[in-house]
């Protein structure tokens, strides 16, 4: 489990996250929802140790964040973070070089599934293909948890469908996933838990199935209640 325990982050006088507390369970897909500037990306970066927090704790399977984090948690940022001059092949080699838990077979499978060409340069990839490569670099790691920041942002419908189909495959099955997205309607049927952020605070946290059964509401309905009361 990833435990976010009263995490607060300030940039100067501005508080971006305030006492954020929730959990991400293994084998479940948790969606972090919020309007622009709510602090979603900041929180993901904080979990990944890419940003120090002002207060609070983050624990992965009971252990505080350390250099061993990256063997357990993979991060798919909102943009492809590989140098433009590299080829797809170079990127895969980079991951192979530095990650013991890089799964070569899965990478080859995803390469073929996403129809990516190894010789293509990063700079020449379309937005959709860049997003797919980005996802490949995260999914091909054998990690217990996967964090994704806006995996569907700005890409075409067909690429989105392809990416969404990965969520139902065994590639995601046993992992704990935390993702942020604006396209809730596309993946609402996939997510297990929703955490709603507003101005850096957790407003609501709920299991989607429970809300549907008990209150007959969808995630979108709850969002309307929270953000447009």
């Amino acid at each position: 489990m990833i435990e976010i325990d009263r995490v607060t982050k300030k940039f100067g006088r501005k508080t971006v996250l305030k006492d954020v507390t929730f959990t991400v369970e293994k084998g479940r897909i948790t969606c972090l929802i919020g309007l622009n500037g709510a602090g979603k990306s900041t929180l993901l970066k904080a979990i990944m140790g890419l940003m120090p927090v002002s207060r609070g704790q983050i624990r992965i399977d009971g252990q505080p964040v350390s250099e061993h984090l990256y063997e357990k948690v993979a991060f798919v940022p909102d943009t492809l973070t590989m140098p433009p001059f590299m080829t797809v092949e170079n990127c895969l080699r980079f991951m192979r070089d530095f990650y013991d838990n890089w799964n070569e077979e899965r990478a080859a499978y995803l390469l073929s599934f996403f129809k990516l060409q190894p010789a293509d340069r990063i700079s020449s990839l379309s937005k959709g293909n860049a997003a797919k490569l980005n996802l490949l670099l995260g999914l091909a790691l054998d990690t217990d948890y996967l964090l994704m920041d806006e995996p569907f942002s700005g890409i075409d419908m067909f690429s989105r469908e392809q990416i969404a189909s990965v969520f139902t495959s065994e590639l995601i099955e046993d992992r704990g996933v935390l993702l942020t997205t604006h396209e809730i309607d596309e993946i609402e049927h996939l997510i297990d838990k929703a955490v709603l952020l507003d101005q850096g605070r957790v407003i609501r946290e709920f299991w989607c199935e429970e809300i549907r059964e008990k209150e007959g509401k969808s995630v979108m309905d709850v969002m309307r209640e929270v953000y447009h009361p």
């Binding site: 990944m48 890419l50 940003m51 120090p52 990256y70 973070t81 590989m82 140098p83 990063i122 700079s123």
Partner: protein, 275 residues
């Protein structure tokens, strides 16, 4: 260790095109400059010989003296020193860019680098190693190039007009090369050791800026300034300390600065760096 080597290789690979260009500029400019200087000098000699009815080179040398490699190079010093200055400038800039290019640019590669498993500190060492290899690589190139250029000089200049000198004599009497290529081993390690310490100090300042942005920039500038002051301060104590004591003190301060910079960098990379 293997991962560190891989990181070093990656850093080397990222810069190799510019580096190769610097090496090529150096070789071409110095060779061409020397060739042009020798050719034009021989032309001038012929012209003078005709004017003054001197029949042989030997006679000419008796009247006007011989021309050393050093003098020949000085006729077109810009071709010689120009590329050296360019290399120094580019590498100085790259001391900063080796970090900043990871943050800026279309895809922030720094995400990847900071998420590599095991210690981020390896990143620091890899970049430091890469910078030192780039610097020493160009030094080695110049070391190899100089005797080749001297051989070219001996080949092209008539024997009666040339004046023998060794590479080491030339270097010892050259205002720039005596610092860049000191033939004395202790001096070589001193200069490049100091450079090594200076780069670690700058790296620490860069990481301060990356951790704390504007406040970090101020802290970094203050850190570099303080390091410079502290390092040079013993030189002002020549009225109370003997030279060997000043030297020892500077050595100690250099070591402390190095260790402090390494510790600061390590701490910032592990806990404070912000993407």
């Amino acid at each position: 260790m293997i991962r560190y080597i891989k990181l070093v290789l990656m850093e080397l690979h990222r810069f190799w095109k510019i580096y190769a260009a610097l090496a090529a500029i150096t070789v071409i400019s110095q060779t061409a400059g020397l060739w042009m200087s020798i050719r034009s000098h021989i032309k001038r000699v012929h012209w003078e010989m005709e004017l003054t009815s001197i029949g042989t080179y030997a006679e000419f040398a008796k009247t006007y003296g011989r021309t050393s490699f050093r003098s020949i190079v000085s006729f077109n010093e810009l071709f010689f020193m120009g590329p050296v200055m360019i290399c120094i400038a580019v590498l100085l800039i790259y001391v900063f860019l080796i970090w900043y290019r990871d943050w800026y640019g279309k895809n922030a590669f720094v995400y990847r680098l900071l998420m590599l498993p095991a210690s981020r500190f390896r990143l620091f060492w890899a970049k430091l190693t890469a910078i030192m290899l780039f610097v020493l690589g160009l030094v080695a190139l110049q070391i190899v190039l100089l005797p080749l250029l001297m051989a070219m000089y001996r080949q092209m200049m008539p024997a009666e007009l040339s004046l023998a000198e060794s590479v080491f004599s030339y270097v010892r009497h050259h205002i720039v090369f005596q610092i860049l290529l000191p033939p004395h081993a202790a001096d070589f390690f001193l200069y490049y050791g100091l450079g090594f310490v200076a780069v670690t100090v700058v790296f620490a300042a860069i990481l301060m800026e990356r951790a704390w942005r504007l406040k970090g920039l101020i802290a970094g500038i203050l850190y570099v300034s303080a390091a410079t002051l502290v390092m040079t301060f013993p030189l002002s104590l020549d009225y109370v300390l003997y030279p060997h004591e000043i030297w020892g003190l500077m050595g100690g301060i250099g070591l402390v600065l190095f260790l402090a910079s390494v510790w600061i960098s390590r701490t910032l990379l592990a806990k404070k760096i912000t993407v």
